[in-house]
């Protein structure tokens, strides 16, 4: 552990160090990692030069784990233990997953999120995803030759709270500090917009392996403002494959398949779909383990016809997003295509017809999301370059509300609200002396609770005895910039307070994460205590550095006594960094944070005043 660099008063610490940050596109079919190198966003390839990592994880009987291409090779041999498209299971229960009957896995119907039974035991989709993230993290560390300060991980814009929470958990499990969860179409818009210095209103049509998103953004002077988003978290290229799979079965008049043969045929269907991008017709020949042979011919027109309803569905969702944004098709300046599935010619044609213009395909639809994520990661890491003074304003895709009488939903935060957002609503007791109140938090657009997704239930206890209707219980919903929700309730009228914070029931608890981390670390032969110490040191350094930067620019806001208090808290924390007491470090971090609270408030006030005076804070 190197000693902290001592900087002159008034100078920020290590001004020229480039902080290593990455963007990760954790896709249904493929995943990528990208970073900024010499000012340019680049995808990092594996040792064989390939950027795309197939999102496939195989658990071997001997305890080994294969990720990516090596797992692909085993897909048809060992389908039960080779998990493909795990993204479809993130934050989902068994009943949420379509075509589950066609999948070769043994599912466990566990509360909240389903699990998969493998030869290495029961695995949560979060653990499977973490294996993919681990490979990408290692690739980045080798390639960049240093420790990462964090990652921006992309999620479909239409992911709900449970799916986002699951993604964040997977990153934690893979030892990645999540700088931000970023919506995939927004990431693509950033990559496209910064590349082309675009201004105006754009639509991003993002059809990935398992998800569809349509986002409408306004680009003005470096601000990317999402106006509306819509989509379907269970509609993607996989569904096109599935239609083709069913069509082949039907054409070839084949009896029910073994899971190995089904895996084979699924891969064949995918390959055929890809061939149809460039060929007008493709012969499908496959010899099955059962001895039967498939030999059929498909034309591009037939494929387009059988998948027309899927394309039609995406356009319906597009129309809705436009209406939510209050825009006509004619007001859209350009349409950016994202996701491998947008390579299908009939998809491109349908989108072109809908918008009355040719979509933009000059950026690689497989890479554009990762590149945008890398740009955001770089900006969040504080590596500001000349063109990095931009800002993202994203929205929440689905409404959030509470269950009320009769199983109805009372919406608290409507969909497409700009993040972050906080809303409070007052409720009261309906019985004399009512001591507790139950809350049920749901997400979705429908009016009935039963049709929405249940996120959390909690109870507020200890309400002092009062007449019915006299208590004032304020429930506050807060959604942060990652789109993650926290809810609290507080009884205020009597001066007595009780408050609760809830985590969505689909997320893993901190204890579960800790257990999984421990297991993973033991497997890697790592030392848990050393890792915890290191994490606290990094956090302490981060806080010291941020404080020094703040002091350098705004030290004048403090009087000598206040300044001395902060300086001594910094010195104390520095001393602790040199030691090896994890717990004391935590206390020191909290002490410095407390010492700077008032300073932070003054800085924020000054920043706002500065903004309104038409000047940046540095200029005042």
């Amino acid at each position: 552990m190197a000693l902290l660099q001592i900087s002159e008063p008034g100078a920020s610490a290590e001004p020229h160090r480039h902080r290593l940050a990455i963007g990760i596109d954790l896709g249904t079919t493929n995943s990528l990692v990208a970073t900024i190198r010499n000012g340019l966003a680049v995808c990092l390839p594996d040792e064989e030069g390939r950027a795309l990592l197939p999102s496939i994880v195989r658990y071997r009987a001997d305890g080994g784990i294969e990720v990516g291409r090596r797992a692909v090779a085993q897909q048809a041999v060992d389908p039960r233990n080779t998990i493909v498209s795990v993204k479809r299971f993130m934050g989902r229960g068994i009943r949420d997953v379509t075509h589950i009957e066609a999948m070769p896995y043994i599912f466990e119907d566990t509360p909240g999120m389903l699990r998969l039974r493998t030869v290495q035991g029961s695995k949560s989709p979060v653990e499977v995803s973490a294996e993919i993230l681990r490979v990408l993290r290692a690739r980045a560390e080798v390639s960049l030759g240093g420790e990462l300060i964090g990652a921006v991980i992309t999620v479909p814009a239409y992911f709900d709270d449970a799916q986002r929470q699951a993604t964040r958990d997977a990153a934690r499990l893979a030892g990645l500090e999540v700088l931000r969860l970023l919506n995939e179409p927004t990431a693509a818009a950033v990559a496209y917009g910064l590349d082309n210095a675009a201004e105006g209103v754009y639509a991003v049509y993002d059809l990935g392996g398992g998800t569809f998103d349509l986002s409408i953004l306004r680009l003005t002077h470096g601000v990317f403002e999402v106006l509306a988003t819509n989509g379907d978290a269970a509609l993607g290229g996989d569904d096109f494959d599935h239609r083709l799979f069913c069509w082949i079965l039907d054409r070839a008049r084949i009896a029910p398949l073994s899971i190995e043969d089904a895996s084979h045929l699924q891969m064949k269907a995918r390959a055929t779909k890809e061939l149809l991008t460039t060929c007008d017709e493709v012969p499908i020949k496959l010899k099955l383990d059962s001895g039967e042979e498939i030999d059929v011919l498909i034309t591009r027109a037939e494929f387009a016809e059988m998948t027309r309803p899927l394309v039609h569905k995406t356009l319906g969702l597009t129309r809705r997003a436009l209406r939510d944004a209050g825009l006509a098709v004619s007001e859209i300046k350009g349409v950016v295509m994202v996701g491998g599935a947008t390579r299908m010619p009939h998809v491109q044609r349908a989108v072109a017809e809908f918008f009355g213009q040719e979509p933009l395909i000059n950026l690689d639809p497989d890479k554009v999301v990762a590149l945008g994520a890398a740009m955001q990661a770089n900006a969040l890491a504080g590596n500001h370059g000349a063109n990095d003074d931009w800002l993202l304003l994203d929205v929440i895709p689905l409404s959030l509300g509470l269950e009320t009488m009769g199983g109805l939903v009372e919406k608290i935060i409507p969909r497409n609200s700009t993040l972050p957002v906080a809303r409070a609503q007052d409720f009261t007791t309906f019985r004399d002396g009512q001591g507790a109140m139950a809350f049920h938090v749901v997400q979705g657009e429908r009016e009935l609770v039963a049709d929405c997704r249940s996120l959390a239930r909690f109870e507020l206890r200890g309400i002092p005895p009062m007449a019915a209707g006299a208590a004032r219980i304020r429930v506050t919903f807060q959604v942060d910039a990652d789109g993650l929700l926290s809810v609290s309730a507080r009884e205020a009228s009597s001066g007595v307070e009780a408050s609760v914070k809830v985590q969505p029931s689909y997320g893993l608890s901190d204890d579960e994460i800790a257990d999984m981390l421990k297991a993973g670390i033991e497997r890697a032969g790592d030392d848990m205590a050393a890792r915890a110490l290191n994490e606290q040191r990094v956090e302490a350094e981060r806080l010291i550095e941020a404080t020094l930067r703040a002091l350098a620019s705004d030290g004048a806001l403090l009087d000598a006594k206040e300044r001395a208090a902060i300086d001594s808290a910094i010195d104390a924390l520095r001393a602790l960094c040199a030691g090896a007491d994890t717990r004391a470090l935590g206390v020191g971090i909290a002490a410095l944070a407390r010492a700077t609270d008032e300073f932070a408030a003054r800085r924020m006030d000054r920043a706002i005043r500065g903004a309104l005076a038409g000047h940046k804070i540095e200029e005042i």
Binding site: L380, L391, S417, P420, A481, A546, I608, R609, I617
Partner: protein
């Protein structure tokens, strides 16, 4: 400046119904570019929390001032008048009749699956609202007649609800077409 500052002061705009929307947009973006959590990712916990609170506040303020009816209601609440409280005022029979006619028209178009008629109703209602917004401006800014403004705002709440229903019906018809 603290988090409880009123929205007009926050954006340094005059406390009137007629505001320059371009100016509102610009002020909003200026503030967000200072307070947004993305600008404070590497700061201490206190600053990050504060940044989120300010950014959420700026979003709420922007949304309130951007929509004419919301802006009017906010102005009324600053003046100590809440249109919600005016719910006891008796609605003029003409207005109620008009409401019933509107609802019948929407109902009819819904049953007939008449997409074009719904679009037409949507546009007519939009124009109507625009006219009323001009009226609100005159009541609030020129005459300071808050009682009349509150009454009008209350009627407009009905019209906006109706507009939302038309839009919802349109969406349902489109869904029907998609499936």
């Amino acid at each position: 400046m603290d988090l409880t500052v009123d929205f007009f002061t926050l954006f340094r705009l005059p406390r009137t119904f007629r505001i320059d929307l371009a100016e509102l947009d610009a002020r909003y973006l200026e503030i967000q570019s200072q307070v947004h959590p993305d600008r404070h990712v590497r700061a201490g916990e206190g600053e990050r929390r504060l940044s989120m609170q300010w950014a959420a506040r700026a979003n709420e303020a922007y949304l309130t001032l951007k929509k004419p009816l919301e802006r009017a209601r906010y102005l009324l609440s600053l003046a100590g008048r809440d249109p919600e409280i005016e719910r006891n005022t008796i609605m003029e029979p003409e207005f109620l009749m008009e409401q019933m006619e509107w609802r019948e028209a929407v109902q009819e178009a819904r049953q007939g699956g008449d997409h074009h008629e719904l679009e037409r109703l949507h546009h007519r209602l939009r124009l109507d609202l625009k006219k009323h917004h001009a009226e609100l401006a005159s009541l609030l800014d020129d005459r300071q007649d808050y009682a009349a403004a509150a009454g009008l705002a209350r009627r407009l709440m009905f019209l906006e609800k109706l507009l939302a229903e038309i839009d919802k019906t349109l969406a349902e018809l489109e869904d029907g077409m998609d499936n």
